[in-house]
Symmetry: C2
Subunit: 124 residues, 2 copies
DNA sequence: TAATCATATTCATGACTTTGAATGTGATTG
DNA sequence: CAATCACATTCAAAGTCATGAATATGATTA
């Protein structure tokens, strides 16, 4: 990759990379939907599977991206792994963008599907 | 592209595409730097060339991306074309992201380079 | 320890993005 | 209209991302 700057006078753009990293992670509807789902607290993967309608492996892949970006954290509880956002400030970013686009903050139109995890079905 | 959804119960992720579009546009340090440069009002392309240190064609390409995304608008005045942000709400998005990453809002470390445009050098 | 459950990782392919180089265009001046 | 200035567009090679399919892992139970 050759350089695209004229000379050494260009300001370093490196400080912007952290922001870029965040935006890159948000560049995907499924990942935004996952974050929206986590607005009301932690959820297990099976939850997201049920509510978002994606296959397990797919959800897991997107969760990995969010996790590696540091936006979410996981906690294992027996068979299930629960995810939560690391810093709610991420919602300020998301909400600012929906404002900008004039779109509703939605995106989490939950279907009636139910999650089979024991957390949702305590001792039936 | 094959489908990644299990069935028809998945919520439509289409409403999120507008947000995704914004984030995609911000997924680039040069474009963020340009937007930061426009915080204090409109600037011509030669300005950005001088202050950011990129070649004209490169700046122009990034401006095209920002323009097509609707984030900036242009105005021609004789030889020069001046750009300005369409909606200052974009800075809420940017600032929220810098907050999240703990980075300073900076990125616009202006060098002493000067812009040759008549706007900056009125009748010398 | 074997089976099972919930979730993660790897891999390969196709789609999209980036960016330098070359070239095109519209406004202005002579 | 020819030259020039400021800027835009096109193109192609290289890189990055998306995603289905297959497989692996770690916890739990029998």
């Amino acid at each position: 990759m050759t350089l695209n700057v004229i000379d050494g006078t260009a300001p370093s753009l490196k400080p912007l990379d952290a922001q870029v990293q965040v935006f890159k992670t948000l560049t995907h509807p499924a990942r935004i939907a996952i974050l929206n789902l986590l607005r009301d607290g932690e959820h297990c993967v099976c939850h997201m599977e049920a509510f978002l309608g994606f296959r397990q492996a797919y959800i897991s892949q997107q969760l990995a991206v969010l996790r590696e970006a540091g936006l979410i954290q996981d906690r294992r509880d027996g068979w299930n792994i629960y995810y939560r956002v690391t810093n709610p400030q991420i919602y300020v970013v998301l909400d600012a963008a929906s404002q900008l686009t004039g779109q509703p903050t939605a995106g989490t139109a939950k279907p009636e599907t139910t999650c089979p995890c024991p957390h949702c079905n305590p001792k039936e």
